[in-house]
């Protein structure tokens, strides 16, 4: 039977039915609606004030490509200027291809691009080198922890290099849903307490971060990229299959089959979680070495790098086992320092995350 009319413009044939409402729309109207929704999220949540210099974390994947494209369309209305920041983790066969996609996008959209590499920032430690180092300890999962933490630092460094005032990343509703499922399964009360909003305001000198696509489902992001004919890189990280996020992702797919609004329901649950004050992470201070935001004496990035340098890559992963720095400052005895502090600073990887970790923590 022929496709129905677009219910918005009533002129063209409908090209899709929106997953969230079942409404039939043509490609152009869908894209307009999508952009309007992102605009509304940014404005209602007051995420990007006029005059902000916004660093877009670009990995070459579908989410950051769509994010950059939409923000570029909305930039005049919001009154912000954009810079692309790409992170090169040094994963051979994966990151170089993704970076090529980012370079093409930057050229096409005429946006300034800055690439920050782990090799430059972290003393020659690329992810491949880290993986070789941790492989010896028998757990290849550990390299994902490093990637998440170091990428955060790298993004922050890159944003400062270009003089940005805000950082945006392309996390979508499915990512946030997987995150809350994963955090419950892992028992990470610290992250659960911190998550749920649209981003973090940026405490202690860290730049404010936000996720404008947080309320858009993954299907709609892909559809948008399709209708706007965007060029992106869609392969999975070579280290991804080991990550725990894969379980949460699989579960989310099953849930969406049973109930289409599952991802947004999970996001709503995450927004409304109430955790005990003792479970929340302690207020962060500054790292004694690099000055970045840290819950202990050394920020997690410095602690991890320390471990790598000394040939003991497992140092600082786990229950606060850093034997190196000064003892942590005395804090409220009710807040469990071990797991909460480790949780506060430890990174966690995402499978198929296309280069950016879906944990929007410090």
């Amino acid at each position: 039977m022929p496709a129905p009319q677009c219910s918005s413009c009533h002129a063209a044939r409908a090209a899709l039915r929106r997953p969230r409402s079942g409404q039939a729309l043509c490609g152009a109207c869908f894209c307009t609606a999508f952009e309007a929704e992102v605009l509304h999220t940014v404005q209602a949540g007051r995420l990007l004030p006029p005059g902000a210099v916004v660093a877009v974390g670009a990995s070459g994947g579908k989410d950051s490509t769509v994010l950059a494209h939409v923000l570029r369309e909305l930039a005049p209305r919001l009154g912000v200027s954009l810079r692309l920041v790409a992170v090169d983790e040094g994963i051979g066969g994966y990151r170089d291809a993704a970076l090529a996609a980012v370079r093409r996008q930057a050229a096409l959209w005429d946006l300034p691009l800055t690439v920050v590499a782990y090799a430059d920032l972290f003393g020659g430690w690329t992810m491949d080198a880290v993986a070789r180092s941790t492989a010896g300890s028998g757990r290849s999962r550990a390299c994902c922890t490093f990637c998440g933490v170091l990428r955060r630092r790298a993004l922050e460094e890159g944003a400062r290099l270009v003089g940005a005032t805000h950082i945006v990343t392309g996390h979508n509703a499915d990512d946030m849903a997987e995150t809350v499922l994963m955090n419950f399964l892992r028992g990470d009360a610290g992250r659960l307490a911190r998550g749920g909003g649209l981003g973090s305001r940026g405490e202690g000198g860290a730049l404010p971060r936000c996720r404008p696509l947080q309320l858009a489902s993954q299907k709609e992001v892909v559809l948008y990229a399709h209708f706007r004919r965007l060029d992106y890189f869609s392969e999975e990280c070579v280290y991804a299959p080991e990550a725990f996020r894969g379980h949460a992702r699989h579960l989310l797919k099953l849930l969406e089959a049973a109930r289409p609004s599952a991802a947004l329901d999970l996001v709503h649950s995450a927004e409304r979680l109430a955790l005990a004050p003792a479970a929340r992470p302690p207020p962060p201070g500054a790292c004694s070495r690099c000055g970045a935001l840290a819950s202990r004496a050394l920020c997690q990035a410095c602690a991890l790098l320390d471990g790598l340098q000394r040939g003991r890559p497992r140092l600082a992963i786990g229950k606060g086992r850093d034997e190196e720095g000064p003892p942590p400052p005395p804090r409220d005895p009710r807040s469990a320092p071990g797991p909460a502090a480790a949780a506060a600073a430890a990174g966690e990887c995402g499978a198929a995350c296309e280069g950016r970790c879906a944990q929007a923590s410090v």
């Binding site: 209602a44 419950f184 028992g187």
Partner: protein, 528 residues
């Protein structure tokens, strides 16, 4: 698994180490007896130590929380399944101990017959009921059998929260226990146990709540119609749980029980937690899965089996011959992908097989949840069905709820009219207009339906989307919905603010707000 705080140094445990050949395993507790069951990650217990461990856990959970006062009437919700049977058995044993360690409350048992919702014929249900009665009589407590069809005769007051009694503090609990013991002393040492036995044995001979025959055919038909009309199994299960909860509350209130004990085990609660998360009930997890659930005010739901895993329950029931019966539930024989509950159950149990600490990790996280709205809002109106404070805020549109209730696919370019907080919105029309955008379809839903839906929390709204016609809901729900919305309409005349009634703390009418200053005083950030 990538658990927080996990020690990456040790290799992945392969499972409990196999017993070394030529050397018998001994119980890890008494080091003497032959083990009969392995619990947790490799602890082998002998029969007596296992029994002591199991009973001790039950008593410890009750004793630690100090919510059940001596002499209090407690209703045990028994479904016939293993966990609730085990719970009733524990209470039975606990009451028959010598006086120092005896449980001190007065129990009753209730069984809810849900056959009509599961599509069973009356003959099958009657057979099951006969078996149920046999077991109930053998317990020796006052017992009640209620059919789910009785929801059609419930009064709307079931949905109203009674004035809350102050929760007993440490001091009052001790005082109550001391006075109870003193009372027993003055009466005399031996008569009191028999007194209590007499009290318990009397109702059994009278068969207090024996339903004479099947419930009225109209009710059976109405119930079947309601459940058949629900489109998804997820919504059916949620509706069944809601109705069952209301029915239990009614039974407890009618017969003067102030506590209801349900037999949810650790495994079931972990599954329930993840399911509630996926259903959008993140705000109410502490009530849904905590030890005590005080949302009804006068009747508190208590979960004493929450630290026992299903494996322990199953082994205990087998080793000590605890009677239980099997009744088909609404999701028996349903495929795994049929509902969110089944999916979560399958997922968690599979993950548990791979990483043995999954269930206990989820359970531990659930203990860190608190019963408070996230942003510290004062108590607003309650959801019509689940009676938790509403967690939807129509004013804040940069949320998952806001994203689903907005429609941006207009032909004209979107005007930035929805900038929250930019201009104060008038109390009346904008709110009603927003409230009616309750369903996602562009068809206008009927006024009566929208009346019900706007009084529901997020999770209940999503469930009700799968119920095509809200008219088939039992009359007490519809009556209460109408009553509340009439009160909403009359609010300005009564000097109450509609925003307050709908749970939105920030009254945006400013100086035009009709509410009395006292009503508004408790709400943060209110102007005028």
């Amino acid at each position: 698994m990538c658990q927080v705080g996990e020690d990456y140094g040790d290799p992945v445990p392969e499972g409990p180490p196999p017993p070394r050949p030529g050397r018998e395993l001994r119980c890890v507790k008494c080091k003497d007896g032959l083990p009969v069951v392995v619990i947790r990650a490799g602890d082998a217990f002998c029969r007596d130590c296992f029994r002591a461990f199991y009973v001790h856990k039950f008593r410890a959970v009750l004793g630690k929380n100090r919510l059940i006062f001596p002499g209090e009437k407690v209703l045990l919700a028994w479904s016939g399944g293993p966990s609730s049977s085990s719970m009733v058995w524990q209470v039975l044993e606990g009451l028959s101990r010598d006086s120092a360690k005896r449980l001190r409350f007065v129990p009753g048992v209730v069984y809810v017959d849900e056959g009509a919702a599961c599509g069973q014929s009356w003959e099958n249900r009657a057979k099951t009921l006969a078996e149920v009665k046999l077991i109930l009589r053998s317990f020796g407590f006052p017992w009640h059998i209620v059919a789910l069809e009785e929801v059609f005769t419930l009064p709307p007051s079931v949905l109203r929260c009674s004035a809350q009694e102050p929760v007993g503090t440490e001091g009052t609990y001790k005082v109550a226990v001391d006075s109870f013991l003193q009372q027993q002393h003055t009466v005399g040492s031996s008569p009191s146990p028999t007194q209590q036995e007499e009290q318990l044995s009397q109702p059994c001979t009278q068969d207090p709540q024996d339903p004479a025959g099947p419930p009225p055919a109209a009710h059976i038909e109405a119930l079947s119609r309601l459940f058949d009309s629900v489109k998804t199994l997820t919504a059916k299960e949620e509706l069944l749980q809601t109705l069952r909860g209301h029915l239990l509350l009614h039974v407890a209130r009618t017969h003067g029980y102030s506590k209801v004990m349900t037999g949810d085990s650790c495994t079931r609660l972990a599954i329930k937690l993840m399911t509630s998360l996926a259903l959008g009930r993140g705000a109410f997890l502490a009530w849904d899965t905590g030890f005590s659930d005080e949302r009804h005010g006068d009747v508190v739901v208590v979960r004493p089996m929450r630290e026992h895993t299903l494996k322990e329950v199953a082994f205990y029931n087998r080793l000590f011959a605890v009677p239980s019966i099997f009744t088909p539930a609404i999701d028996t024989k349903a495929p795994e992908k049929a509902s969110i509950h089944r999916l979560m159950e399958g997922f968690l149990l599979r993950l548990q097989a791979q990483f043995p600490s999954t269930v206990s990790t989820v359970y531990r996280t659930s203990e860190k949840l608190v019963k408070a709205p996230r942003d510290g809002c004062a108590a607003g109106p309650r959801c019509l069905l689940c009676m938790c404070s509403l967690d939807v805020d129509t004013a804040d549109s940069a949320t998952a709820f806001g994203a689903q209730t907005q429609d941006f696919s207009q032909t004209q370019p979107p005007t930035p009219l929805a900038e929250a907080g930019a201009a104060p919105m008038p109390c009346c029309s904008a709110e009603v207009g927003r409230a009616q955008k309750c369903c996602q379809s562009t068809l206008l839903c009927r006024r009566e339906d929208s009346q019900v839906i706007e009084q529901l929390c997020y999770g209940c709204r999503v469930n009700m989307k799968d119920v095509p016609s809200l008219d088939s809901l039992p009359p007490y729900i519809l009556a209460e919905a109408q009553f509340r919305s009439q009160r909403y309409e009359l609010a300005p005349m009564l000097g109450e603010c509609r925003w307050v009634l709908l749970g939105v703390c920030m009254c945006r009418a400013g100086s035009q707000c009709v509410a009395s200053p006292q009503a508004l005083a408790g709400y943060p950030g209110v102007s005028g």
